[in-house]
């Protein structure tokens, strides 16, 4: 295959990726966008395989054993990926995305280490630029890998969501970055014998850095972190492109990297925080002092209700808004919730959903779940669209959400989430809050909403509560119809 042909094919693949991302920004074109992306990837892989089997310079053709290994790796990987994609529950999407990011990071690091090994074997002094590219690529790859693994574990709940705030952690991070730079310089100066070992040490340090960075970020910020890691995985691919001199990798990596960065930025804006604040501030860092100060106060009273009370309220309402949060995702309650709203709608009640931009653990998480439950996306409103409507709403039902409906974000400058736009549910006639217990939200912040006079708490597992609520409502509706 002529090298120019390969490059033109790569160009086409890059354009397909651009169109794919473009398509994904609107509902109407999203599916075509995904298809175009798939096509681009197939084209890239096919052309690369072709170039390996029949290169311009026949002497460089890959041997059958190599090809066999390649085919096996691709085949096995594709099958694993397909099975994962088919099996994953929609509620576990965030974990899946995080773990997939870690694969990209690991692959980028491996490619970097591998090409360094090849370089050492080929002999000769390394070129400065190439050396920098390899170290940078491995650095980003390793950070992406361990960062994504930690994000995955946090999202699964294997490790706690509270930020790990070590003393002098900024100094620690900085020293790790300098260590990596130092190792890169030392490896360059040290000659062939130390190049690979130093790179491996540097990889390890970068890995620790990645893990530490994400450990220091609280669970509430996970959507942004996942999106940032998405961006990193792009940069890692781009760095690999530099070291291999492959334009397709460079372009595609840069596309993913910068669009991921924008996505993170958009999300940070939705939370009224800067990206630096998310990455370096450690959510809940200042928050530690607040609950402590409030310990002296007498325990505040909450109004509790039961299934029947909640069902009556919902049946009597003309205008209902559902505010879903991560709790609904965890409990897989979206189908039952949808049935409740369908029942209410059939009775002439206006039922809508209000989605906070950072509800759930992934941006757009709630939209995906509600879509899975067949909720029409016209009934699903974004925060800006619906925040003014709460005043005219009879009943708001908050399912497993906490920080995104916390009034202290607006009126308590002491609160760590102060300044974040929230859904102003307390303006509605009544708020029914489904909650497991009185534990604080993911951000570790107490929620004054629970203590308001017009808030009724419905304690229990979200899934069970919603199911019981559904049964109660349908029973009553039948009674009334009869």
């Amino acid at each position: 295959m002529r090298i120019t042909l390969v490059n033109v094919a790569y160009l086409v693949a890059s354009l397909l990726f651009v169109l794919s991302l473009r398509g994904l920004s609107a509902q109407q074109t999203a599916r075509r966008g995904n298809l175009l992306g798939t096509l681009g990837m197939l084209l890239a892989v096919a052309v690369t395989l072709g170039a390996l089997v029949a290169p311009e310079n026949k002497a460089l053709a890959a041997g059958p054993s190599d090809l066999g290994l390649l085919a096996a790796a691709i085949g096995v990987g594709a099958v694993i990926g397909a099975v994962l994609a088919a099996r994953v529950a929609m509620t576990s999407m965030p974990e899946l995305v995080a773990v997939l990011h870690s694969f990209v990071g690991a692959a980028a690091a491996l490619v970097g280490i591998g090409s360094e090994m090849n370089g050492v074997r080929a002999g000769g002094a390394p070129e400065v630029a190439h050396h920098v590219e390899i170290h940078a690529g491995v650095f980003i790859g390793a950070i992406t890998f361990t960062g994504s693994v930690i994000a995955f574990l946090k999202l699964r709940g294997t490790i706690g969501s509270k930020p790990l705030v070590l003393p002098a952690r900024h100094a620690l991070n900085a020293s790790m970055v300098f260590a990596c730079i130092f190792l890169a310089v030392a490896a360059f100066r040290g000659g062939e014998a130390v190049r690979v070992p130093y790179l491996l040490v540097s990889t390890g340090v970068a890995g620790v850095l990645g893990a530490h960075l994400v450990l220091a970020i609280g669970g509430g910020d996970m959507p942004v972190v996942v999106s940032l890691l998405n961006s990193y995985s792009g940069w890692a691919a781009s760095a690999a492109g530099f070291m291999l001199g492959n334009d397709l990798l460079i372009v595609t990596g840069a596309l993913v990297g910068s669009s991921g960065a924008i996505l993170s930025y958009i999300m940070c804006k939705a939370m009224n925080r800067s990206i630096w604040n998310v990455v370096f501030a450690g959510f809940g860092e200042q928050g530690g002092a607040v609950p402590a100060a409030k310990k002296g106060e007498p325990a505040k009273k909450v109004n509790e209700t039961n299934i029947d009370g909640a069902a009556d309220l919902l049946l009597g309402a003309k205008n209902v808004i559902v505010v879903p949060g991560y709790g609904m995702a965890v409990a897989q309650a979206q189908h039952a919730v949808k049935e409740i709203t369908t029942l209410l709608e059939r009775r002439g009640t206006k039922a809508r959903y209000a989605i906070h931009p950072v509800a759930g653990r992934l941006p757009g998480h709630m939209n995906v779940l509600l879509a899975e439950a067949n909720v029409s996306y016209e009934a699903v409103k974004e925060m800006e669209e619906i925040n003014e409507d709460f005043e005219e709403t009879d009943v708001v039902i908050v399912i497993g959400a906490n920080d995104i409906v916390n009034p202290s974000a607006l009126d308590d400058p002491e609160s760590p989430i102060y300044g974040m736009p929230v859904l102003e549910v307390w303006k509605a006639g009544r708020v029914i809050m489904l909650k497991r217990g009185m534990a604080a939200g993911y951000a570790g912040v107490d929620n004054p909403l629970c203590y308001l006079d017009n808030t009724l708490m419905l304690f229990g597992d979200a899934k069970a509560s919603v199911q019981k609520l559904l049964n109660a409502i349908s029973a009553r509706a039948e009674q009334q119809a009869a």
Binding site: L24, A26, M41, L70, I74, G81, A86, L244, L263, L362
Partner: protein, 558 residues
């Protein structure tokens, strides 16, 4: 432009003698010459017009502002306001219109001046030189009338030309009338409909709620939505301007959107605009579909200064149920419905079509109250605390409404952004003084970024290879493309987008492949193995990412 600046200067000059003592009329601009500016109120001469430009309440306000009011006897009778009530509020009642023209400094009325149906005398001919006239005027349609008034050297302000800016809302007579109009349209429709509008379950059978379809969600349309909803009907509303969706849904109606090859009906200043023929055909079809399932259709679609678009074809009327009602609020501008007859109620194919143009007059009391208040607010703007007539040509509202200044044509007003060859006007802080100054963005992030970029690029240029520079070019361009790609993504698609970008970043697969295969070409065997592992991981990512995105997107549905 030059004259205008001069006139503006005169207007400012006029303010000075008045500010010191209670001695208006010191300047040449002041034709009144009396200590007190007098506002004249005429009885409308158009036979069907029942509104009046002042109510006893508004007269009270004017008197409190230090103005005299001269009212033609019987001016408010058809709107339900007695002469005695006006007199009690402080107006001087004069027997004839001629008396008002002779004595008042400012003439206020509702309709544009016209010829008296009995005597044939034209109101415009009775205006004195320098006299001020405030009324609806429609200067674009009534060129002849404007010329007639110009000959009389009158100063004329058109109530239909209030600029659509926030500050001018209290003067917005058109909106105030449209509001009443929309409400009355529902009442007219309900009276012809012959059934209840709200749904009920009664012992004598079930009553289905009426389906109301509103075309055009301007002020009249929104008012109609509110009135129809209040009567219990189910309401849908159509508008070509997608931005009004929120207003429609906030009134409790369902929005019927319309999209046609990227063309929207949004024109300048928030009004609808004229559109292409194919667009109109598609619009007519959509409207016909909705008419078929509606019991009441209220159409309010107007294009400023143009004939109203024909949106309801005769075919659409044929498709409607017998007993349905169409109220065409655009009847005065030719009607939105092909079968509308101006000022008449007709029945066509079993559908009642109301084409009356005097709906606001049918609510004369309410309409007069609102209109009179807009007049009071306008006079308050112009007269201010000084109680003298001081037109400010720098004021966007007053300039916008001004048609004639002492007979000189001032309409249409210059667009605010076009300042012609005149020297740049001095800044006018008072008008916008309440606006908070925007905090300028800190220049430092940009400067630091530029410095970093230079610090990075300079050595590349000095020491880098040709290849590296090429790669960098590609890289940076791709960054810019990526930067622009996703700004407009809808939040609902964040997860699919992220999952697709994730799949695409699996392109590292190619890197792994090159590495793995290069083992045969003299690379390190361990490196080939690492490459293979990289390929394995990246393949999981690619397959998993694309497939899960597909799965997700399949679930999104309308």
């Amino acid at each position: 432009m030059v004259e205008e600046v001069k006139a503006g200067a005169n207007a400012v000059l006029a303010a000075e003698p008045a500010s010191g003592a209670q001695k208006p009329g010191g300047s040449a601009k002041e034709a009144g010459g009396e200590a007190q500016v007098s506002i004249g109120v005429l009885k409308e001469i158009e036979p069907r017009e029942r509104r009046v430009a002042a109510t006893p309440a508004s007269v009270g306000r004017l008197v409190k502002m230090g103005l005299a009011v001269i009212l033609e006897s019987g001016a408010g009778a058809s709107a339900g306001f007695e002469d005695a009530a006006y007199a009690e509020a402080g107006a001087r009642i004069v027997p004839k219109a001629a008396d008002v023209f002779r004595e008042a400094d400012v003439i206020t009325k509702v309709r544009p001046p016209g010829a008296h149906p009995e005597t044939g005398e034209h109101e415009a001919d009775q205006v004195r030189a320098g006299q001020k006239l405030i009324s609806f005027l429609w200067p674009a349609q009534n060129k002849e009338l404007v010329e007639r008034l110009a000959k009389r050297k009158a100063t004329v302000l058109a109530m239909d030309a209030v600029p659509r800016i926030t500050r001018a809302q209290k003067l917005d007579a058109l909106s105030a009338m449209a509001n009443v109009n929309g409400y009355r349209a529902v009442i007219e429709a309900a009276s012809h409909y012959g059934r209840l509008l709200g749904g009920q379950v009664t012992a004598a059978g079930r009553i289905k709620p009426a389906q109301v379809f509103i075309i055009g969600a301007g002020v009249a349309g929104l008012a109609a939505i509110g009135a129809a909803r209040a009567l219990g009907a189910m309401v849908k509303a159509f508008d070509t301007r997608p931005v009004v969706r929120e207003q429609v849904t906030s009134m409790g109606a369902e929005f019927v959107p319309f999209e046609f090859q990227g063309e929207t009906g949004e024109g300048q200043g928030g009004y609808a605009k004229e559109v292409s023929e194919a667009y109109l055909a598609a619009e007519q079809q959509l409207i016909a579909e909705h008419c078929r399932t509606s019991d009441i259709v209220i159409s309010t679609a107007l294009i400023p200064g143009k004939k109203a678009p024909e949106l309801i074809t005769s075919g659409a009327v044929v498709g409607m149920h017998r007993g349905s009602v169409i109220v065409d609020l655009a009847a005065e501008q030719g009607g939105n419905c092909a079968l509308t007859e101006r000022d008449r109620t007709v029945e066509r194919y079993g559908v009642t079509i109301v084409g009356h143009t005097d709906l606001t007059s049918r609510m004369a009391r309410q309409a007069s109250e609102l209109y009179a208040m807009t007049i009071v607010n306008l006079l308050d703007e112009i007269m201010g605390k000084k109680k003298t007539w001081e037109l400010s040509l720098d004021d966007e509202i007053q300039r916008g409404m001004l048609v004639l200044l002492d007979g000189e044509l001032k309409w249409p007003p210059p667009r605010p952004e076009i300042r012609g060859g005149a020297p740049a006007p001095a800044p006018k802080p008072p008008a916008h003084a309440h606006q908070k100054p925007e905090v300028p963005e800190s220049p430092w992030p940009g400067r630091i970024g530029t410095a970093l970029a230079l610090a990075f690029l300079a050595p590349v240029g000095l020491f880098g290879s040709q290849e590296l520079v090429q790669h960098l070019t590609v890289f940076l361009l791709a960054c810019v493309v990526g930067w622009h790609l996703v700004w407009n993504v809808t939040p609902a698609l964040h997860t699919p987008l992220m999952s697709v970008t994730n799949a695409i970043s699996g392109i590292i697969l190619i890197g792994g492949m090159l590495l793995a295969a290069n083992g045969g070409g003299g690379g390190a065997p361990v490196a080939a193995l690492l490459g293979a592992v990289a390929v394995l991981l990246a393949s999981i990512n690619v397959a998993g990412g694309f497939l899960v995105t597909q799965r997700m997107l399949r679930m999104f549905r309308k």
